[in-house]
């Protein structure tokens, strides 16, 4: 099949185009990663290999700021991820298992709206909404905003998994005297678990990486990692930022791979 004439690999310029795409996508990240190990304080001149900027991240002048920001980021990502997953799971069950109702496609659109609306619009809207109802900006407002925009990211893998689970499993459970709740916990949940886990991981990583909305709704003094990095960069790029970015990149790669792996595993067990 790889040799058929319709194989995309046989199109002229395929190789060159692929290389161009890969270079554009990954060169910046590779350069940042390489220069995070630069011994020189310059961000363009190579001065030999060193771990000093990693040490600087953990023990330097800005270490305390980064530590608080990292803690904020992780705690918000965990809580927002969990809440978004719970909401997305309920939404998926309602949408897919429920009978058709008026405005079903509208609901589907609403759930996934944050994926399509430009983030800056959501950010401004969220900010205006928070001031209108008088929520003080800070840790809590960031948390609420993250919960909301993480929902569609959690929803998609969960809904995809649920659509692949035959309704007859739940019917069999209920037929065998299980209550609706038991049918959910004993039968549907275990079958849905891979979708739920990968939905959570996706929501977690999206929350961890978010900058625009966070920057709008955070109050003065409360920082997450992305906003802390942005704050530092405004005073000039130092190599410690590259080290911190590389660390975040690692965390992201880890969680995205985990999410992918979990959903693959789920497919096999189906």
């Amino acid at each position: 099949m790889a040799n058929t004439t319709t194989d995309v690999r046989r199109y002229p310029g395929f190789l060159a185009f692929t290389i161009l795409c890969l270079v554009l996508l990954y060169t910046p990240m590779i350069i940042v990663t390489i220069y995070s190990f630069n011994d020189s304080p310059s961000i363009t001149k190579w001065g030999g290999f060193s771990w000093r900027w990693y040490q600087d991240v953990f023990f330097g002048i800005e270490a305390a700021k980064f530590k608080t920001a990292a803690w904020n980021s992780l705690s918000i990502a965990t809580m927002a991820g969990i809440s978004a997953t719970v909401i997305a799971t309920s939404a998926a069950i309602g949408m897919i298992r429920g009978n058709s109702f008026k405005g079903k496609s509208l609901s589907f659109g609403l759930i996934n709206l944050p994926l399509m609306v430009p983030e800056i619009v959501s950010a401004v809207a969220t900010l205006i909404f928070f001031s209108a109802i008088g929520i003080t900006r800070g840790y809590f407002s960031i948390l609420i905003a993250h919960m909301v925009f993480c929902i569609p990211f959690a929803y998609l893998p969960i809904a995809a998994r649920l659509e692949g689970i035959e309704k007859s499993y739940e019917e069999a459970a209920i037929d065998l005297y299980a209550t609706r709740w038991k049918a959910f916990t004993k039968v549907l949940m275990p079958l849905l678990a891979p979708g739920i886990i990968s939905g959570f991981l996706l929501a977690f990583i999206i929350s961890l990486d978010d900058f625009i909305i966070t920057n709008f709704v955070k109050g003065a003094g409360v920082e997450t990692l992305p906003t802390a990095i942005f704050g530092s960069v405004k005073q000039g790029i130092k190599p410690n930022i590259m080290a911190l970015s590389t660390l975040m990149l690692l965390v992201s790669v880890f969680f995205v791979s985990l999410s992918y792996y979990v959903s693959k595993l789920g497919e096999r067990s189906r």
Partner: protein, 367 residues
């Protein structure tokens, strides 16, 4: 009532959707199933048999009518409150549980202790000859074995009624045949009323005590296999169960349950009538192919009441031979002769033949 039926469905109606886009899936269906009976719902796909089964199980609501289980109305009970279990078409075994956990699920949900549930489930697995597979996952079993687990799982809580939704359709032919015998045996041993849904008439004939033939959401006929095959109530039943020859006819005179009809080129035929009919009306005659025999057409045998025609084709089918005949008036007729007798084959294709219909084999169908 001293003698209540195991199941009594009265005037069941199921309508999907709202007017004017509504679809009537079941139209006024009434059946009553006796205790310990193996009852089959038979019909082509889309005839409403699965809807009726799911309604009895509690997965579908009933639009109108009532369902009684041993005299008690159950149509308003949720599925998990009905003492009725189902064997699903694709088995729906819980893939994350072991075979034993699957079989014990119903009893556990009924609040039985793990020990009791597991011992009953174990016995059920022994009964379906899967005692040694208790710790496997369903995914590690073959289709036939999964089918047995599904059966054990549904029987473990001792339901008052077992519903089977085309459980054999996913198995290969050989396995299907042996499972038929086994299912019937288990039903007789357990003394549980079975309601079996299928579109396979052979399956229905081999296992059922009685069956209900359905079509287009309506009940066509209820009876034993023999009654349905030999005395079909209407054209649909005659055509759906087995093969038949349907000839259009005009009724000449009616005498009790017999009528004299005129078919084709003015040949008279004595028929048994299915429903009351008046002389002069037109109807159809059903004749099973194996009740027709052929003879060489001679001048002497070509009387008024003999149908004659030309042999157009033989189809060898192993146990018997199918013979296609073109009658003089243009009607096509099939007949079947057992190869043990070897009587047809002395007529060559293209030769003239006269046909003889067994006494009582011609049945006049009003509907």
């Amino acid at each position: 009532m001293a003698n209540t039926s195991a199941l009594e469905v009265r005037n069941a109606v199921k309508v999907y959707g709202v007017k004017p886009n509504d679809v009537i899936a079941l139209n006024d269906v009434s059946i009553s199933v006796e205790n310990n009976e193996f009852f089959t719902l038979l019909g082509p796909s889309g005839c409403g048999k699965t809807t009726l089964l799911r309604m009895i199980a509690g997965f579908e609501t009933i639009t109108q009518g009532s369902i009684r289980l041993f005299g008690e109305n159950i149509e308003n009970l949720p599925a998990n409150k009905r003492p009725v279990n189902t064997v699903f078409q694709q088995y729906a075994l819980f893939p994350h549980m072991t075979v034993l956990q699957n079989a014990a699920f119903g009893l556990t949900m009924l609040g039985k202790s793990d020990k009791e549930a597991n011992s009953v489930a174990g016995r059920m697995l022994e009964m379906v000859q899967l005692g040694g597979f208790a710790d496997r996952k369903p995914g590690q079993l073959s289709g036939g074995q999964q089918q047995r687990v599904a059966l054990a799982r549904a029987l473990a809580p001792s339901p008052k009624l077992l519903l089977l939704d085309e459980p054999l359709s996913a198995l290969d032919l050989k396995l299907r045949h042996s499972m038929r015998v086994e299912l019937k045996q288990i039903q007789e041993e357990m003394g549980i009323t079975f309601i079996f849904v299928t579109h396979d008439q052979e399956e229905a004939l081999t296992m059922s005590d009685r069956m209900a033939v359905m079509s287009n959401g309506e009940l066509q006929q209820i009876g034993t296999g023999k009654e349905i095959y030999e005395q079909p109530g209407n054209r649909f039943v005659a055509d759906f169960i087995g093969e038949t020859n349907l000839l259009s006819a005009t009724v000449e005179s009616v005498k009790g349950s017999h009528a004299t009809c005129v078919i084709g080129n003015n040949t008279r035929l004595e028929c048994v009538v299915s429903d009351a009919i008046e002389a002069g009306s037109s109807a159809h005659i059903s004749i099973r192919p194996e009740r027709i025999s052929l003879a060489k057409s001679t001048v002497s045998s070509a009387g008024q009441d003999t149908l004659t025609g030309v042999v157009s084709r033989y189809v060898y089918l192993g146990t018997d031979t199918q013979c296609k005949l073109l009658l003089d008036d243009g009607t096509k007729i099939n007949c079947r002769v057992q190869n043990a007798h070897g009587s047809t084959t002395d007529l060559a294709v293209g030769e003239r033949a006269s046909i003889h219909i067994d006494q009582g084999a011609a049945r006049l169908l009003v509907n």
